[in-house]
């Protein structure tokens, strides 16, 4: 890494901006602004800083519609919005997917449109922490805010999460290094354990690395629970970890004053999926008989948690909410985006602030190639290649203000620092325009003539 001299040439500093990258939602960034562009970012990690500073890299600037020749062609906003609205209005099984990198204010417009037309609203949880949400519904959810971790925690465990690379400031700002009220010596007052088959960068920073076997997570946590319940392990080695190491670890965990388990996709996406999280949650609950323990899923996008929270207060369900029948349905494996696409149900797909082209399995993307796709985003990506209408949005937390929810549920109002490119529009505006245009094109389907109470709630 070469030395880069500090930027001294700027017009103004905008303080306390919030990073729109990972679920850490660092809200202490200073943007150095020159000629309406962020030329430097203070306090952010490299991931956050590069996203903010290279905002014009592969930027979607103008609305586009795929023409008869199969190429995306630049059009004016009216044409693009009308085309998109027509696709939505004509569809019978639209899916609105994404939302994790936009504001709750924009989601508000989205749900109004979704409820009106009868769409499925879903977010990236369906491909990332969905198993965690499922497990939470099975087992519970003992959590705490990140400041609580900073002030109290003396034992930090990362499981299936390489925070050093995925959430670079997590350890520095919240969990491991900061001086907390009861942890005045910061790092020296905490024991850090990484549980991961890989000797990751996070493992390198830790006091202890538990390199259980691939897919050995369930067995390993099961063994910990057994020991916590006073049982003796019958195997000498569990999931590749010697029994005596497990006994030792359990003792340490029991003796912690305040422990926190942070877990990532390494835990949600191995063989046992949500069962891994189930058992991790139950382990944390068991540990509370001895000391104080909590956990937090390492949410990836800065507002992936926000969408789940938003949908839960609007509809009662966190993701994969299907309005097609005029009432809410939520059925994992049935009303989630991938399942719907693989079954080739959707006939129109709106993707906002997400990149299914890059992240979805092939089968799902194949269906996307066959149906109209509307993309609202700020950058070009594989999804642009699938899109029939491209609507260039603006950058929340930089060009546009909005609310997001950190991985621990703390809401943050991300402020605006610079103006967006003249030809772009705010996400919220775009979705509102789509809503209003769709409402003109089609009468609301599936409206009951009269309110019928649900007998189960009487």
């Amino acid at each position: 890494m070469s030395y880069e001299p500090p930027i001294t040439d700027y017009d103004e500093i905008v303080e306390n901006c919030t990073c729109a990258f990972c679920g850490c939602n660092c809200d202490d960034l200073d943007y150095l602004v020159k000629d309406g562009h962020v030329v430097a970012v203070r306090h952010a990690c490299r991931l956050g800083a590069s996203k903010i500073m290279e905002d014009m890299d592969q930027r979607l600037i103008v609305p586009m519609v795929r023409g008869a020749n199969g190429e995306l062609e630049e059009v004016d906003w009216d044409t693009a919005l009308d085309t998109a609205a027509e696709y939505i209005a004509k569809s019978v099984r639209p899916v609105f997917y994404g939302w994790s990198e936009t504001s709750t204010e924009c989601m508000k417009e989205g749900i109004e449109l979704g409820e009106y037309i009868g769409a499925v609203l879903d977010n990236q949880a369906t491909i990332c922490h969905g198993p965690s949400l499922q497990a939470v519904q099975n087992a519970g959810y003992p959590i705490q805010t990140l400041g609580e971790v900073k002030n109290r925690a003396d034992m930090i465990v990362y499981s299936g999460s390489n925070a050093m690379n995925s959430h670079p400031r997590h350890m520095g700002r919240y969990s491991v290094f900061p001086r907390g009220y009861f942890r005045q010596r910061g790092r020296f007052d905490r024991t850090v354990v990484t549980m991961d088959p890989k000797f990751s960068d996070t493992a390198k920073m830790s006091d202890k690395w538990i390199g259980f076997e691939q897919n050995g997570d369930y067995g390993f946590y099961n063994a910990i629970r057994a020991v916590l319940k006073g049982k003796k392990l019958t195997q000498n080695v569990v999931s590749g970890i010697p029994a005596e190491d497990i006994y030792e670890l359990v003792e340490e965990m029991k003796n912690a004053e305040f422990g926190v388990l942070f877990f990532g996709l390494g835990l949600t996406h191995t063989l046992s999926k949500q069962r891994n999280i189930d058992i991790a949650i139950k382990m944390v609950m068991d540990l509370n008989r001895f000391s104080k323990w909590g956990l937090t899923p390492m949410r990836g996008h800065f507002n992936v948690n926000g969408f789940n929270i938003f949908m839960a207060y609007e509809t009662g369900f966190a993701f994969g909410v299907d309005f097609s029948r005029g009432y809410t349905r939520y059925m994992l494996g049935e009303t989630n985006t991938i399942d719907l696409l693989v079954r080739k149900e959707p006939d129109c797909f709106l993707v906002i602030a997400a990149d299914p082209g890059a992240h979805f399995p092939n089968g799902a993307n194949q269906h996307l190639a066959d149906i109209p796709v509307i993309q609202i985003d700020i950058h070009w990506g594989p999804s642009t290649e699938l899109a029939d209408v491209v609507l260039p949005g603006s950058f929340i937390g930089v060009e546009c203000a909005g609310t997001s929810y950190r991985m621990d549920g703390v809401p943050i109002y991300m402020k605006k620092a610079i103006d967006k490119p003249e030809t772009c529009r705010d996400d919220e505006w775009i979705v509102r325009e789509l809503k209003e245009r769709v409402m003109k094109l089609r009468e609301e389907p599936n409206v009951a003539p009269k309110y019928v109470p649900n007998p189960a709630a009487e």
Binding site: E15, N16, T18, D27, D28, E115, V136, Q137, N138, A139, G140, Y141, P142, I143, Q144, T145, L146, G147, E148, K150, N151, R173, Y174, Y181, F182, F258, M285, N288, S291, K292, I309, Y313, E314, T315, G316, F317, A318, F323, G326, Y327, T328, R329, Y330, A401, T403, G409, V410, P411, I412, Y413, N446, V447, A448, P449, K450, Y451, V452, N454, A456, A457
Partner: protein
């Protein structure tokens, strides 16, 4: 627009109107003396007319609610309905979605609801939800009882400073008043512990619950806030907690009520919430009994206290409270899925599903104690109807509770037919109580007193100049005996004939006919700006070091407020 509600039987306890046949006029959202001949006439001949309901204490918006919904899709599914022209689809039984919450309160004839626990760090979340709830106004209470700054100020007995802090934090969080939950106990929970009794201290903070509560009460009166301190005492749900409850309330009787204009509306200097959960005798659940008699006696002799009940409704529900250690106790008892959510430097929260079964002794005991409290407390102005929604049951059960209160035969038959466990008879006096509430009493405990407790003058009554928040119920009190027909009472109060909010007809014949955005009520103290600034300067270094957000991003920006109603309080002198 002018309206006249014709020939209703009016119950308006604030104006001592006890079932008089009267017209009620309103114009441009306010109650007026008279209207012109052009007024639209609504015929409600012989039907019950009351001010719209005011809920003293419920949990309807905020992070706890969302965690509940997120982890209990089985509850959300229980209430799903199809959208109509006027209504979005509903969901939920004990933890309805935000739109559902508004519709259901509206259908019951309610107009205002107090959200009883708003953690400052996540106040934006509470306000975001309030924005989504239609048809009712909401006054959120900010949590102070385990706030580190408050604990320190209480330890040093710095009442002036604490008053300035509260005033500043109400502005920052856009809160209405001071809520205290298990003082010191939720802080102790930071280490997996609890405090026991009123004179216990949490680890590391050299201050007792008593010191914190007394200091907050004094600071509250120093500011002259419209609402008194609102307390959920220590030891909730523990057999034998009656002593703690009475000790807590008794410790506040020497505190002088403010003579500010805002504070003069209310009578109390402390409001004790969900008293049912705090009125147990015994040492464990095997020998537990009712402390209702003792607590009611205390209320009957101490006018500085008001309370609400937290009546158990015998349903499957979801408990959620900032009393996180108590929720952990429940988890250990039931083993059901447990949520915990600690919030740095401020508070904690816990959630757990709960099945109050009439077949079990403990649920029945709780049910009976709640009713005993209603029936043994002499002055209905001192007691408010709540279920501590959703803790003891969902708010949609208020009509059923009303029917129990109005019918002694109904209560007796539940006991005698074995509809409830025999502990109701063996361990409480419920079977011997034949008092029955009349409609005037019901109006008192569901609107008039509730409004007075919160210091509202513009609602909870039908005085000229008040908001036209009115409920009409399809019962003819002059031709009807509620004691004999509890089912009809429940039905009528479940679906108002009319619900009128700010002069707008929201419900007609039990159906939502229109909606309006909620309004949030918050308290703005004027006159101690300098002291506020001083206290902010003082706490800032600590805040910067130990919170996980920047100060600039901590406050609730105006952007989050749903049509705010700012309640100004003038601080006189210093």
């Amino acid at each position: 627009m002018e309206y006249i509600l014709k020939n209703g039987i009016v119950y308006d306890p604030a104006n001592e109107i006890k079932g008089e046949k009267k017209d009620v006029c309103f114009k441009d959202g306010k109650i007026v003396e008279d209207v012109s001949a052009a007024a639209k006439e609504i015929d409600v001949t012989d039907k019950i007319v009351m001010p719209a309901g005011v809920d003293t204490h419920a949990h309807v918006a905020g992070p706890k609610l969302v965690l509940g919904r997120l982890y209990r899709p089985e509850d959300s599914r229980r209430g799903v309905t199809q959208k109509t022209k006027n209504e979005r689809g509903e969901s939920g039984f004990s933890i309805p979605s935000c739109p559902t919450t508004g519709y259901r309160y509206s259908r019951m004839g309610y107009g205002t609801v107090c959200e009883a626990a708003m953690p400052p760090l996540e106040a934006k979340h509470t306000h975001e939800e309030i924005c989504i709830i239609p048809n009712i106004d909401i006054n959120p209470l900010t949590l102070f009882g385990n706030n580190w700054f408050i604990l320190e100020m209480a330890r040093e007995n710095k009442i002036d400073e604490m008053a300035a802090f509260i005033s500043a934090w109400l502005k920052i969080t856009k809160g209405y008043g001071v809520k205290i939950v298990n003082p010191c106990g939720s802080e102790a929970w930071g280490w997996g512990m609890n405090v026991h009794g009123y004179d216990d201290k949490p680890p590391y903070f050299d201050v007792t619950s008593r010191e914190v509560v007394r200091a907050l009460a004094k600071a509250n009166e120093k500011l002259g806030l419209p609402h008194s301190i609102h307390i959920h005492p220590n030891d909730l749900g523990h057999p034998g907690n009656t002593n703690t409850t009475i000790e807590t309330l008794d410790s506040l009787k020497d505190i002088v009520k403010s003579n500010s204009k805002a504070a003069s509306v209310r009578d109390q200097i402390v409001h004790c919430t969900h008293m049912q959960f705090h009125s147990y005798t015994g040492t464990n659940w095997r020998d537990a009994g009712s402390g209702a008699e003792e607590v009611a006696k205390f209320l009957n002799h101490n006018k500085h206290v008001t309370g609400d009940i937290g009546q158990v409704t015998l349903d499957e529900t979801t408990t959620m409270t900032a009393d996180a250690p108590m929720e952990y106790d429940l988890y250990q008892l039931s083993g059901l899925k447990w949520v915990n959510a600690d919030i740095e430097c401020e508070t904690a929260a816990g959630i757990i599903p709960c099945i109050y079964s009439p077949k079990t002794p403990v649920s029945t005991l709780q049910w009976a104690i709640g009713l005993e409290l209603f029936l043994l407390t002499k002055d209905p102005w001192q007691i408010n109807l709540t279920t501590d929604h959703p803790n003891a049951g969902p708010f949609t059960r208020y009509p059923r509770i009303i029917s129990w209160l109005m019918s002694a035969p109904k209560r007796i038959s539940m006991i005698e037919n074995g509809e409830v466990h025999n502990w109701a008879e063996k361990r409480t006096s419920l079977a011997t109580l034949d008092r029955e509430y009349d409609f005037y009493d019901i109006a008192t405990i569901t609107r008039a007193s509730n409004a007075r407790v919160h210091g509202f003058t513009d609602r909870g009554n039908l005085s000229v100049g008040s908001n036209a928040d009115i409920a009409v119920y399809d019962l003819e009190p002059n031709n009807f005996d509620p004691s004999k027909d509890p089912e009809a009472v429940e039905k009528a109060f479940s679906r108002a004939k009319y619900t009128i909010k700010d002069g707008q007809i929201m419900v007609q014949d039990g159906e939502i006919v229109s909606t309006k955005p909620s309004q949030v009520l918050w308290t703005n103290v004027k006159g101690i700006e300098d002291q506020e600034k001083a206290v902010l300067d003082q706490v800032m270094p600590f805040f910067t070091q130990y919170y996980s957000v920047k100060w600039e991003n901590y406050k609730v920006h105006d952007h989050f407020l749903s049509n705010p109603i700012r309640v100004d309080v003038e601080m006189e002198g210093k």
